[in-house]
Each structure stands twice: as C-alpha cells, then as structure tokens.
C-alpha cells in the first residue's frame, strides 16, 4: 500500500481483501481522519471537512463503498461489510465531535482539547483499530458488585414460589405481645409448649396484663393472627421475617434467624391440599425429583399437625453417597424441613372466623436451615458477621 505523505488522502483500491490488508487500510484511513480533523478551526473548515468525508455524492465514505465493499470477492463481503459499517460510524462520530468542540470553544471558556478525534482516543484506550499492543489475557477491570445475602436471597426464593401460587406477602413487628405470639395461637398461659420457645422478654412488663406483655416474637406466626383479625377469608398469605430466641450463639444456634410462614384459609381447604401445596413448593425449591414425607407432630395452633421431610438432596434419598453414609441426612435419606398443619379451630375462634364454614392450613420453615442446605454452610454464625470473604462467595 502506498503511504500518504504530503498529498491529500484518497481511498485506495485494494489488491488483497485479507484481514491484515483490511486492518492496514482502515488504520491508514483513520489516521488521515485524525490528522484532518485537527486542522478544522471554524465552521467553514468544518463543513469542508464534513463534505469531504461523508458527502453522499463524492465523499470518502462513498468511495469506500465503491472501491472496497463492491469490489470485494464474495467470500470477503461479510468481513468487509462489517468493517465498512464500523468505519462509517467512526467517521460520523468524529465529524460530530469536531463540530461540538467548535461550539464549545467560544471566547471566555478555558482551553480544553475538544478536538481529540476518535481514532486517537481509541488508540489510547487500546480499542480495536489501535496499533498499541495489549495483552488481552490480563484480567478485566471489575466494577464491584454487591452480593445478595444468602439468607435473604433464599427467603425471596421461598416467597416467590408461594407468590406464584397466589399468596400475598404480609409482614409484622418483631416486638410482639404475649397475645399475638402465644395466646391467640392457642398456647395457653402456663403451658409447657411455651418452654420450647426460649423466649426473649422485654423488661419492665410486670404492671401490664399478661396478654399485653411484650416479647420478641419467637416465630412469624403472630402475623397470621394480625392478618386474619383484619381480613376476611378467603386469604392466602406468606410471611417472611426475622425472629428471635434465647439461644446462645454457636455453630448451630443463633438468637436471630428468619422464617417464612404461610397461611391459606378458604371454604374447603383440606389436609390433602396442605400436602399438595407443600409438595409442589418443595419441588419448586429443590427440584422436581424431590419427594416429600409427612408425619405427625404437635403445634398448638394447628391440628392435625405435621412435620415435613424432603428426600435428601445430597444423596438423592439413598442414604449413602461417595461410597459411604450420607452425612447430610445421617444416612436416613430424608431431611426435615418444615412444620405445618390444619389451622386449629381455637385459632379461628380468636380471630372471629367460623370454623364450621372455613378451614385452612398453615406452614412454616426456617430460612437459615434451607440456606445451609442449599449452600453447604457449616456455621450459622457466618450469616451474621458481615464477613465479605463469606458474603462475596454469593455473587
């Protein structure tokens, strides 16, 4: 290729349409564009510059179309076409930029180099078309992204499964009264079932009636009562939230943790519906091959009550893997995941629902427990330390 010296740049005919030859031709053209753009000083010289490059009749871009694109052999057409398009954009952008820099350099302004045409900039950044050598195997520049907390992410996932089933999100306070946390959920005063809740109590409540005394909710179930007390059936709600227990922190215990609770009440909700709903939800959360198993349990606010196990997601329910006992399900093939039951008629009594006309089910699950299973976390305290070495693993 002949090199342009003093004479004005013209679009050369190409002898070869190889990638290298095209690279070279494009580079020469952009160099000429850069050099000429620097000579523009006013509106008149800009118009000349513009016409020379992009005039439809005899502009250099039109020549490129004729001499490069149309002349290109069939097999090179696509490559040439792309390059010509790219070139077109760059030329037009440069023309616009030069114009903009003219209007900005009015008297009274500071001197700014507004006339740095694109090819030169591109070269500095190491963009395509530049001749500067870059090592494309160097790592890219990372803008920091924040990671979702695994517990909150899991909580959102659970909630969204139930949203798809028509459940609306409800929330409630973390400081509750004895009435909402216990009494209306059919935990009578002085009942041993209360012992199992390891409740954290608010100080200085002795002067209040027992039902108004404050405590930290030990489950998200009080929101069931709050919702039913203000809404008529039918209803379907899902209740995510933080709960507290008087449990000293260690690898498997925490005074704070999260729950998602659900409640459905309608004219003809049955135990079979409860089973079907949770079976569906567990499959949505853990995969369609997961099996569920229900067995009797006791919760004061449901009757009949059940615990739900899913087939172990680590060993596929076989109880062994990698040639040994599955440690996750302790070789049982099952993992206990949630509690549930049909809403106890006494609970309906507390909220003024007629238990002869409506029935319902409720269920609840610990979010940490599910997050631990999903992500293989071995120490629950990791969730509450804000350690970026932990959190950033969930990006």
């Amino acid at each position: 290729m002949p090199k342009e010296k003093a004479s004005l740049y013209t679009v050369p005919k190409l002898k070869s349409f190889s990638a290298a030859a095209l690279d070279n031709a494009v580079e020469n053209m952009l160099a000429a564009l850069g050099a000429e753009s620097k000579k523009v000083t006013d509106e008149i010289s800009w118009k000349l510059f513009r016409d020379r490059w992009i005039s439809r009749n005899n502009g250099l871009l039109t020549a490129v179309n004729e001499l490069w694109l149309k002349a290109a052999p069939k097999e090179a057409k696509r490559d040439v076409g792309q390059r010509v398009n790219e070139l077109k954009k760059q030329v037009e952008a440069t023309v616009e930029e030069v114009k903009a820099s003219l209007s900005g350099s009015a008297p009274g302004s500071d001197k700014l180099d507004r006339r740095d045409p694109l090819p030169a900039k591109a070269a500095r950044r190491g963009a395509p078309g530049s001749s500067e050598q870059i090592d494309i195997t160097l790592p890219g520049i990372h803008r920091p992204l924040g990671a979702e907390h695994p517990v909150i992410k899991t909580m959102h996932e659970i909630v969204s499964v139930f949203r798809d089933l028509g459940y609306s999100v409800q929330e409630g306070p973390e400081i509750e009264t004895d009435y909402y946390n216990f009494e209306a959920l059919n935990f009578p005063p002085n009942h041993p079932a209360r012992d199992t809740q390891d409740t954290l109590f608010i100080a200085n409540q002795e002067s209040k009636p027992a039902r108004d005394r404050l405590l930290l909710r030990t489950h998200t179930s009080p929101v069931q009562i709050r919702t039913m007390a203000t809404m008529k059936p039918p209803l379907r709600i899902v209740i995510p939230g933080k709960v507290h227990r008087n449990d000293a922190p260690d690898a498997t215990h925490s005074p704070i943790f999260h729950q998602v609770e659900g409640l459905a009440v309608d004219a003809s909700i049955t135990f079979c519906d409860l089973k079907g709903t949770l079976d569906y939800a567990m499959k949505a959360l853990f995969g369609s091959s997961v099996k569920t198993r229900f067995y009797p349990s006791f919760f004061p606010f449901t009757e009949p009550s059940a615990d739900v196990q899913i087939s172990c997601i680590f060993c596929g329910g076989k109880g062994y893997r990698d040639g040994g006992r599955c440690p996750n399900c302790k070789a049982s093939g099952w993992i206990e995941l949630l509690g549930c039951g049909m809403v106890d008629p006494n609970v309906f009594g507390f909220v003024g629902y007629d238990s002869t006309r409506v029935s319902g089910f409720a269920f609840g699950m610990g979010v940490e427990r599910i997050a631990i299973l999903k992500y293989g976390v071995d120490d629950i305290q990791l969730f509450y330390q804000g350690d970026v070495r932990f959190l950033e693993q969930f990006l």
């Binding site: 009274g108 500071d110 517990v151 609306s168 041993p192 049955t270 079979c272 089973k275 350690d387």
Partner: protein, 699 residues
C-alpha cells in the same frame, strides 16, 4: 420438641429443654407381640407421631431415643408406646395385671386429706409393712439402666420402674417418719421449708402445692419427695403415693424451684387420672417381690374431684371436610378403638358417634383432636396430594416494590447485603441514637442487652470484623428494624445502613485504587434517593455528632430528613479500633417511603445540537456550590439544560480562603438550533450572576 413451626435451625434439633426419652423395644414386647424389626418399628412409629430420633444397640438391647411432643404425656412410657404399636399393627395390647400379696385384715389406720382440691384431684395410697430395703433384682436394674436410670434400692426403683413402664409418677415414703398418721395435700404456709431428695433446703411459697404429714411438709407435690422421709436402708414400713396433681400447680412449683424431674415433666403435661390405683398396686408388687412385706389394709383412694371427660361427637362428614378424603367408617372405628376410645353410634345414625375419651388422653377434647388421631394412624402419606382452588388475587404490600428498588440499587452500587445482631449494649444505644431504648428482661449478654435503636453500631462492628481479618475494602448494607420505647407501644421502624472502608475502585494492573470518599457515599445516597419522587432534595451539614463535622451531611427530601451520611467521627472510629476512614450512611425508610417511586416519563430526545460554555471563576470559600447552583437556577434560563462543576482547585497560587472553579453550562433547545448571539447573552447573564456572588472571572 419446640412448638414454633421451625424448631430446627441447623438440623441438630432445638437445644432440648428436656432430654430425648429412651424406649426399649424389648420392654414394649412385655405388652404387645411385635414381629417387626427394630429399625422398621422406629420408622413406623415416627410416621405415626412417636418420633424416633435415633436407634442404637442390636437385637434385644436395641434402644430408641424418642422425642415425644408436649401434648402426648400418655406416650412418655413403654405401655403408652406399646398401645400405639398395637393400633399401628392391629395387635392385641396385653393389660397390666398387678400381683399383690394378701392384704392383712387390719383396717388402714392412715388418713389422706386433700385440702387443695384444685391442686390434687385424687390421691391413692397403700401401706406395706415389713419390707427389707436392698438392691433391686438384676432384671429390674437392667431395664432401668437401659433407659439411663440409676438403680437406687428396691423401693425407689419400683416407683421409677412403674414410671417408665406405665408413665404414672409415684413416690415412696418411709411410713415411720410420717408424723400424725396422716397425709395432707395442701399449699405451703408462709415460712415453711422442705429439704428435697437432692439435699437442697428449699423455702416454700404459699403457692407451692405440697404433701405434708400432720406436722411438716414431706414432698413438693408432683415434683420431688422430701429428704427426711425418704426410703433408707433402715426403712421397714412404706407408704406409696400415687396421685393426680394439677398441671399448672406442678409447673409453677417446678419452675419456681428450678426443679425439672421425670415426675414434674409428666404431671405438667397431664397425667392419667384413671391410673393412680393401678400404678400404686404395681409399685407394691415390685417392692414386695424383692423386699417381702405385707400389705397393710386396703388401698386408700381419696378422690377430691372427678376428672370426667365429656364424650366428643365425631361426624364422618367433618372427618372428610378436614382431611379431604373419605375414609371408611370401619377404618376410623378400628383406629380409635385400638387407641382406647369407645365409640357409641348416635341413635339412628351410622355416620355420627359419641366418643368416650380414655383417661390418659387429656389432650383429646374436641372433634378435631379425634380427626388428628384418625389421620395419624391412617398414615399421613396415604392421603393424596391436591392443590386447592383459589379465587383471590395477590395483593402486593406497598413497600415491596420500594424495597426491591433500594435493594437492587445498593447491590448494583457494590454493597454486599449483610445481617447483624438486633441487640446492642447500653453504651452503643446511647452513643448512636437519642431514642429511648427497649431493654430485654433476659438478655443473652451485657453487650446484647437492649434492642438496637440505630443500625450504626452493628455496621461498625461488621466493618471492624472485616478489617481485623485483613479485608480492607469493604462495602456493606443492612436493612432492618430499629426499636424505640414509647408510652403507647414500642416504635419499630425500618432503616437501611450502608458502610464502606478502603477503596472505592479496586486496585488492579490497569489502574490504582482510589480511596472511598465523602462524595462516593454521597453519590450512592443520591442514586438511592433519586429513585423516589420529590420536588426538592437538599443537603445540609447538620448530621449527628457521631459523624465528622464537615465530612457529613443530611439529605432532606421536600424538607424532611430522609438520610444522613458521611465519615464517622475519628474519635469514635479510634475508640472502636477502626484505623481507617469509615463511611456510614443511614436511610430512614419510614420517612423515605412516604414518597412514591419515581415514574419514568419519556421526554423527546433533543434533535438540535447542544452548545457548551465554560466559566472559570475564583470564589471565596464561603460561596459553596449549592449557592451558585441556586443562583443560576433562579435565572430561569429555559434553554440551560445543565450547569455543573467541572474542575475545582485550591492552594498553589490561589490566595488562601479562595478557590478556583470551572463551571460548564449546556444550552439546548427542542425546536431550533441556538444562535451565537443568544448563547452569548445567556453567558453574560451567568457571568453577571457569578460576579454577584463575589466571583472573579479568571483571565
């Protein structure tokens, strides 16, 4: 087992308030001819509600560890579990028939007085004379050891064996140490004391239900016997107590004295009113079989009140309505009868029954309780899975969309989502908020004794945690509730706290990292706030005292503070050993969420070219950018699209107290190309305004 829905966090079981109960399958075979393998039995029992948590040992020595829910005291013993097995496998349940020695003709010369009828419904006693106290026979000792019970002597073991066999707690007194020939069940009197079997002297409360002789308390009813009347090697004559004590009375004394015993555990949950006589006889049988002796007189059975359980109506239609499947009436009858329920068909009806509740099932009072029994023994897994019809719609809480927006914005800005403790110390609560704290009555520690009234201490702790572990570039955010006491009810509001230390951009081969600055956190706060509709958003320097003055600000949206942010006061960071510049932002969602999310609205993209003009000025330091911006805005130039600072310079050749500022105006019109003369005119106006602020245009 805990009773919130989610009693397991990490799969290790709740920190048990009671130990798991051991059950020996071999012992069960005393009452039911089990053919099934122990492991299969464990599985079948679990699926019927007797949760076997572990199986250990082999064949005859197999032991189950079971977790019996609080509503099932009837199953906290071998006979009760055998009854479940009999219903489960349709096998006959053998009755317990005590073998008693002959009674002496003498009438019982001992009195039982139940003074407190609420606390004690029934008190059955027998007297055995001429007993030899010694070790229990090997077979008894072995059984007790298999369920982790330490053999003591034949009398104490007889009582304990009966508890593990049939669940009813009994107690043996040394008859000769009871004064006045009588037992009185009453509340303790002011000032009375009792040394319990564990050797502890206890002050009794007038609320404590006790057993007394004519002179003194001899047992804490249903909880523990007295030390001074216990069976010793010298004991010859014994009085056996087999009573029914009220759940709440026992629970209250058990808690008051911090004494949780096998007996109190069962009485609290409801013992079998009908079993006192049988249990008493069974203890007599065990004692006399090993220690000899004769029965003195008849059984003394004092009944203060009868615990008659009303029959419950069971309708097959209701069974179907709740469970969703039509079960055969025969199956329902079989299950309930096997569990000891008696069913009497209602006259003329085949689908309704009056059900007589056995005395050991205090938990069954209602039709729904019967339905649970039916479902549980039918097998939960035999019910088909169905999905309910639903006619409602999802109603989104108004905050859901706003939460989603703020959360995704913060994640995109590079903040990692974190969760910290809800509790703080009194000191932290006082330092970071003026809100009155809410104290815990039973805190986990002094450092966690009050509910947080600010998210800042939790965030500072998390930042320190990272710095102490070598993570130097940290960005975190946490959303959560903060709490404040008030006269009415506690105030609970939602805040977001963001925290940053280290670099704003990471250090890499391509460029050096840039330290996080005030303007980084301000930009992030601005990005967050700009998602919300508002008329004016202003900033002032009046952030709380824990922020560094001059490096912190409050954001006021339409005049109301919605956020404050900036660098943390260096004294505070030093006190927390944070040797870095720490940046914190607090966003008060309760105030921010008053505003709706900004609804984007399309504006036509300008078709005519924009014109930019730069202005280089020197200002006094007191002329802050906000004043300049306001003055220019007040010009009301319609075509002025933006007016931004481009470069700022202090020091060097500049006179101190002044600074140089390069400002850029951008003009554009939607309907025409701007003319040179009008741009010049506007530029002149801008220059004049800037000069009006005391600015000097640079040459």
């Amino acid at each position: 087992m805990a009773s919130g829905f989610t009693y397991k966090i990490a799969g290790e079981g709740a920190r048990a308030t009671q130990p798991l109960m051991k059950i020996s399958p071999q012992w069960l075979r005393d009452f039911v001819d089990l053919q099934v393998e122990p492991r299969q039995l464990a599985e079948d029992l679990t699926l019927a509600g007797i949760a076997v948590e572990s199986v250990s040992g082999e064949s005859d020595r197999t032991i189950f560890e079971t977790e019996i829910t609080t509503n099932r005291p009837d199953a906290m013993n071998h006979y009760g579990v055998a009854r479940e097995c009999s219903a489960l496998y349709n096998l006959p349940l053998k009755p317990i028939v005590p073998k008693l020695p002959a009674e002496t003709a003498t009438a019982a010369d001992f009195q039982i007085e139940i003074e407190d009828k609420d606390g004690c419904a029934r008190y059955t006693a027998r007297i055995v004379r001429g007993v030899k106290i010694k070790d229990s026979p090997g077979s008894i000792a072995k059984r007790l050891l298999s369920v982790d019970q330490r053999p003591i002597n034949n009398a104490a073991d007889a009582s304990n064996y009966t508890l593990w066999e049939m669940g009813h707690p009994t107690h043996a007194f040394d008859l000769d140490l009871l004064e006045g020939g009588k037992i009185i069940v009453r509340r303790a009197r002011q000032g009375e004391t009792l040394k319990t079997l564990d050797g502890v002297d206890r002050k009794l409360s007038p609320e404590d239900l006790i057993i007394a002789d004519a002179k003194k308390p001899v047992a804490l009813a249903g909880v523990m016997g007295g030390f001074d009347t216990m069976i010793t090697a010298k004991t010859k004559n014994i009085l056996i107590e087999s009573a029914w004590f009220d759940q709440v009375a026992v629970r209250k004394s058990s808690r008051r004295h911090g004494l949780h015993t096998d007996a109190s555990h069962r009485f609290e949950r409801g013992a079998d009113y009908g079993a006192t006589s049988l249990a008493c006889a069974r203890v007599v049988q065990r004692i006399t079989e090993s220690g000899g002796g004769t029965l003195h007189g008849h059984e003394i059975d004092a009944i203060a009140r009868r615990l008659d359980q009303a029959p419950v109506l069971l309708r097959m239609a209701e069974v179907h309505r709740i469970l969703g499947e039509k079960l055969a009436t025969d199956e329902v009858l079989r299950i309930l009868r096997a569990l000891g329920f008696d069913l009497i068909p209602e006259a003329g009806l085949e689908t309704e029954f009056a059900v007589q509740i056995p005395s050991w099932r205090l938990d069954v009072e209602r039709e729904i309780d019967l339905i649970e029994e039916i479902a549980r023994l039918h097998g939960y897994d035999k019910f088909p899975n169905t999905l309910p019809d639903f006619s409602g719609a999802v109603k989104e809480a108004p905050s859901v969309g706003k939460d989603r927006k703020t959360r995704t914005t913060l994640l995109a800005l590079g903040y990692n989502e974190a969760i910290s403790q809800t509790f703080v110390s009194h000191e932290d609560a006082a330092q970071f908020s003026e809100a009155t704290v809410i104290e815990l009555a039973n805190p986990l520690s002094d450092e966690a004794s009050v509910m947080r009234n600010s998210m800042v201490p939790g965030m500072l702790n998390m930042l320190a945690y990272n710095l102490n572990r070598g993570s130097e570039n940290v960005r975190l955010f946490e959303g959560g509730h903060v709490f404040a006491a008030s006269a009415e009810k506690p105030l609970e509001t939602t805040h977001i706290c963001i925290g940053a230390v280290g670099n704003a951009t990471p250090s890499a081969v391509h460029e050096n990292g840039r330290p996080f600055s005030f303007f980084d956190i301000k930009g992030d706060i601005e990005a967050l706030l700009n998602s919300f509709q508002h008329a004016v958003l202003t900033y002032d320097g009046d952030a709380a005292a824990y922020y560094q003055k001059g490096r912190s600000a409050r954001a006021l949206m339409d005049g109301r503070m919605v956020a404050q942010f900036g660098q943390i006061n260096s004294e505070i960071s030093a006190a927390r050993k944070l040797r870095h510049n720490v940046f914190i932002g607090e966003v008060y969602l309760d105030k921010l969420y008053v505003h709706e999310l900004r609804q984007p609205r399309y504006k036509p993209i300008a078709r005519y070219p924009a014109v930019e003009r730069d202005f280089s000025f020197i200002f006094e330091d007191s002329v802050v950018f906000d004043r300049i911006r306001e003055a220019i805005t007040n010009l009301g130039l319609k075509e002025l699209r933006s007016f931004i600072p481009v470069e700022i310079f202090r020091g060097g050749s500049m006179t101190s107290g002044t600074y140089s500022l390069l400002l850029r105006a951008r003009f554009q019109s939607n309907d025409r190309t701007l003319r040179e003369d009008e741009v010049a005119e506007w530029s002149a106006e801008i220059v004049k305004t800037l000069e009006g602020l005391g600015g000097k245009q640079r040459a």
